[in-house]
């Protein structure tokens, strides 16, 4: 169970005030923490609990579904212990900025550039924050829910005509 997860126990002990939620679904543990503590939590997990591999870093857009629009998602893996942990942190649209995780893992560099490119979330302290998949002069952030699927200047797709 999520309560007995080795990381959850330690996190609850150390960052009790910052933990928003702990969920277990299909055997996967997700811990939601406050944005202010995210780098401390990640670096604690890396250095004290051997979650040494940042498998993935991404964002989810909950436009109109949650109070804080974006959710940053960090998928951690511990090579010595062979287990996974997911850390999430909400990011509000009005304050669309979060400290960079490149200080903890170099992997975060391109992954954060991708989130910046496709979601428009800014990262403070990122060494090289440029668009990565779209061109430099692109306007808008394609993975946001209010960005049209067909692109900005085309008629929305209405299904097959025949």
């Amino acid at each position: 169970m999520a309560e007995n997860n080795r990381a959850v126990l330690k996190l609850k002990e150390k960052f009790a005030a910052s933990i928003i939620d702990v969920v277990e679904f299909r055997g996967e543990v997700t811990v939601t923490v406050a944005k202010s503590a995210i780098i401390e939590v990640l670096s604690f997990l890396k250095h004290s609990l051997t979650y040494n591999l940042l498998t993935d870093l991404t964002a989810v857009d909950y436009l109109g579904k949650k109070e804080e629009r974006f959710m940053m998602v960090y998928q951690l893996y511990s090579i010595p212990n062979k287990d996974r942990l997911r850390i999430k942190t909400p990011v509000a649209e009005t304050d669309c900025i979060i400290p960079t995780a490149t200080t903890v893992w170099k992997t975060a560099n391109w992954l954060e550039r991708e989130v910046f490119d496709l979601f428009g979330i800014n990262f403070t302290g990122h060494p090289d924050l440029r668009r990565i998949l779209m061109t430099d002069d692109w306007i808008g952030h394609p993975l946001r829910k209010d960005y049209p699927l067909q692109g900005p200047d085309r008629e929305p797709y209405k299904g097959r005509l025949s």
């Binding site: 679904f25 090579i79 062979k82 496709l118």
Partner: protein
């Protein structure tokens, strides 16, 4: 003495040894690389965005187009993520066939890797040989799915159809001869002085650096990290198979070459074990809310037809929640992260492509070496741009 300046050189996106549309901006001091800036995104098709507008079954064909040299590995990763979300149990025969195909895919992908890697650094014979063997894998693909590359063969809950009778013989014949071919490649490369000069000591990255930058798969194992998802977090029944996980020692291109060659031999062994385990039985789970009905029901009964129509048009609602499934794809850890809001389409589908993360290491692995060594580094990272750009 006059001051020296560095020179900026553009490499790609149309360059034969960048393996697709990869553009590198090189800063050079003579022929020595000072800085590498990769530019990617030329093949960006927005697969993650498209997925938010499709039902779970409709996303499957998109995954073929990620790493187009290993379509079935992508299919497998995605299908396992959906099955985890839906909590569907897959019949034994389907699981076994999936493993056979996943391992043949690993062979196929590694064959393209060895072919192109060798061609890039001057060994053309291997290229011709490896593509000959790859052709057999393609024929097996065609035999079971009708397509050579865009297989789209797996389904949520099992397979789209059972394999034809000649499948077992064809696979069995192939893995009987494959180790001999691998000996042939090794004969051409492992002791070849040119090959050794180009690969030994090239693209060195220590285990700590490799983990820090997120390398996975053979690239990480080449740096001596003994970690393989198939063994350490088994999925799709890999725990039933015996295989070795090779690791390198010197963290260089030559060790990664050796690791991949051993992986190919191990893949043959896994396929052999899977063929021995293969028993007749159903290939699709009995789970009508999620799975397509068998084809004979669709053609012969009105209920089957309605069922098929419903699954094809509406799909199925998934429970609210989020799952992440990582698989050991030929190039590293391929992960699918699905966020479901309870509807029939994912709220978000994130694909964690191994090549994207591995490519980040290119700068660290090539700065200070010659341009020609950069070509070897691109080859050893084994990137596919379809997966990087998505």
């Amino acid at each position: 003495m006059a001051a020296t300046e560095t020179m900026t050189l553009n490499m790609g996106p149309q360059h034969p040894s960048t393996h697709g549309v990869l553009r590198l901006i090189l800063e050079l001091d003579g022929e020595v690389i000072v800085k590498v800036t990769p530019h990617i995104g030329f093949l960006h098709r927005g697969i993650e965005k498209l997925s938010e507008y499709r039902t779970y079954h409709q996303i499957l064909p998109l995954t073929d187009r990620l790493d187009y040299l290993a379509p079935m590995s992508n299919n497998l990763g995605y299908i396992l993520a959906v099955e985890k979300l839906m909590a569907v149990e897959v019949p034994d025969r389907a699981e076994t066939i999936r493993i056979i195909m996943a391992e043949l895919t690993r062979l196929e992908s590694h064959l393209v890797w060895i072919a192109c890697h060798a061609l890039d650094i001057g060994a053309m014979t291997v290229f011709i040989y490896a593509f000959r063997e790859r052709e057999t894998v393609m024929e097996i693909y065609e035999l079971i799915s009708g397509a050579r590359m865009t297989s789209n063969f797996f389904r949520v809950g099992g397979l789209s159809q059972d394999v034809p009778d000649e499948f077992v013989k064809k696979v069995s014949d192939f893995i009987d001869v494959m180790p001999g071919y691998l000996d042939q490649y090794e004969g051409l490369l492992t002791t070849n002085p040119i090959w050794l000069k180009r690969t030994v000591g090239n693209g060195v990255i220590s285990a700590e650096d490799a983990i820090d930058i997120g390398l996975t798969g053979p690239a990480l194992r080449g740096s001596g990290v003994d970690w393989d998802l198939r063994r350490d977090n088994p999925y799709s029944g890999y725990e039933k198979y015996q295989f070795k996980v090779p690791t390198g020692e010197n963290c260089d291109t030559f060790d990664r070459y050796k690791v991949r060659l051993i992986e190919m031999r191990e893949a043959c062994k896994i396929v052999r074990q899977a063929l021995d385990r293969l028993k007749p039985g159903p290939v699709l789970a009995d789970c009508p809310q999620v799975c397509y009905p068998p084809k004979e029901n669709v053609y012969n009964s009105i209920e089957g037809l309605i069922h098929h129509f419903k699954i094809a048009s509406e799909g199925f609602p998934a429970p609210e929640g989020e799952v992440y499934q990582g698989v050991e794809a030929p190039k590293g850890e391929l992960g699918f992260y699905i966020v479901s809001d309870g509807g029939n389409k994912p709220e978000r589908l994130r694909i964690r492509p191994p090549s994207f993360v591995n490519l980040q290491a290119i700068e660290q692995m090539s700065v200070g070496s010659m341009i020609a060594d950069l070509v070897a580094v691109i080859g050893t990272l084994d990137i596919v741009l379809g997966e990087i750009d998505r």
